[in-house]
């Protein structure tokens, strides 16, 4: 009983969440559980599963979303426009693609990538890869095979671009860190050099000061002269009272 209630509640929450994402005016409703939307059953279930399973795995592991949409008619709208409407309604990943196929159209299927990461990529490279992928997919013999090939091409393309961007940003980060480290080390060495220079001048200054002082102190001293006043008729000395008994030497 309890697990059943929980399941119902869980399903309700999922549906609520899904429906909350869908724009009000999207006529196809919420995104289906599989990565393949084929309301008319153009693709046989086995083929649909063989397309959907790897795409689901890729989305779960790498958050790269490839959605396959098979419509009977585009109602005159350009394929890219229709694909982008599906992407806006059903895709939230930073990089995603819609593989749109209209049975009977010779220029179908179309691979329409979108997402924030796409804005960083080189548009010429993106266009070149898209053209090659679509061309190869179109060479398949049957239309279902074309759809499958296009889905594989789209997934390969998106996975490569995403990893390439990550590698590039890691490289930039590494180079930036290395540059910062080099700049910091340079500044540190410069600072140390200046400090050493400053520190080395201290003993020099000290030494010079001491040398000057020493040389000054080494110089002769002189007492001031004064007027001599001879006493007792003595020409050179007036005598003194400095007498000390120093004892007899022990010779």
């Amino acid at each position: 009983m309890v697990p059943k209630i929980l399941t119902v509640l869980f399903a309700f929450c999922l549906a609520f969440h899904a429906s909350a994402q869908v724009p009000k005016n999207f006529e196809y409703g919420p995104r289906p559980p599989l990565s393949v939307f084929d309301p008319t059953g153009f693709l046989n279930p086995q083929l649909a599963k063989s397309i959907s399973d790897p795409l689901t795995k890729i989305y779960q592991k790498e958050k790269i979303d490839v959605l396959v949409v098979v419509l009977t008619d585009l109602a005159g709208a350009p394929p890219e426009h229709v694909a982008k409407r599906f992407a806006q309604a059903w895709c939230t990943a930073n990089i995603h693609a819609v593989v749109l196929h209209v049975p009977g159209r010779k220029d179908s299927p179309w691979i329409v990538p979108a997402g924030k990461l796409l804005e960083i990529l080189n548009p010429k490279e993106v266009l070149k890869s898209l053209e090659e992928a679509q061309r190869r997919a179109a060479k398949e013999v049957t239309e279902p095979d074309k759809v499958k090939a296009a889905a594989t091409e789209a997934a390969d393309m998106l996975r490569y671009w995403t990893s390439n961007l990550i590698n590039h940003s890691e490289q930039v980060q590494t180079e930036r860190s290395q540059w910062i480290q080099k700049a910091t080390e340079k500044a540190r060495f410069r600072k140390m050099g200046l400090l050493l220079l400053a520190a080395s001048t201290i003993p020099l200054v000290l030494g010079a000061s001491m040398l000057i002082l020493f040389l000054k102190n080494r110089g002769p001293r002189s007492f001031p002269s004064r007027d001599l006043q001879p006493r007792l008729g003595a020409p050179y000395s007036g005598g003194n009272f400095a007498v000390v008994k120093i004892g007899a030497p022990d010779l």
Binding site: P220, R221, F223, Y236, G238, A242, I246, P249
Partner: protein, 154 residues
């Protein structure tokens, strides 16, 4: 009164107490002080005076009676300090010339003379005189600082 005195040699060893090596030591010490205080001339005399002779008086007579040496001027003589040591009485005295009188006081000279006693009594007579010169230099240095012109007053 002050005539007919003997020549006043820098070191006069009238009693033969010092050997040549001792004389050289004493000369070196004397030269050291004279380089620092070139004004002051030093004379050392070791004598054996009769018992009744007053050492200061003898020194007074010696400094005044001895004729000037050929290169000596009256000013040199008045800047002379005579160290007189009497072997018989075991006394030492200082007789300064007029000009040298004001360098040190009697008390300071007595302090200098007392510094000789230990070595003298131990028989190291030359060393005692060397000690005398060292002590004199020290006291004169201190006295000179009192006299040196102060820069702050310039």
């Amino acid at each position: 009164m002050f005539s007919d005195g003997p020549p006043l040699l820098p070191i006069l060893d009238a009693v033969g107490i010092w050997k040549d090596a001792d004389i050289r030591k004493i000369e070196a010490a004397r030269g050291n002080v004279e380089r620092r205080f070139p004004q002051i001339k030093w004379r050392i005399c070791a004598v054996n005076l009769p018992a009744e002779t007053s050492l200061p008086l003898f020194g007074f007579w010696l400094l005044n009676a001895c004729p000037l040496n050929p290169e000596e001027t009256p000013s040199d003589r008045s800047w002379t300090i005579l160290l007189l040591i009497d072997i018989r009485s075991g006394q030492a005295s200082i007789t300064p010339g007029y000009a040298a009188e004001s360098c040190l006081s009697d008390d300071e000279w007595q302090k200098v003379l007392n510094s000789m006693a230990t070595y003298w009594q131990a028989g190291k007579t030359a060393k005692a005189v060397v000690r005398f010169f060292k002590s004199s230099r020290s006291e004169l240095q201190t006295a000179w600082k009192r006299y040196k012109p102060r820069r702050s007053h310039r």
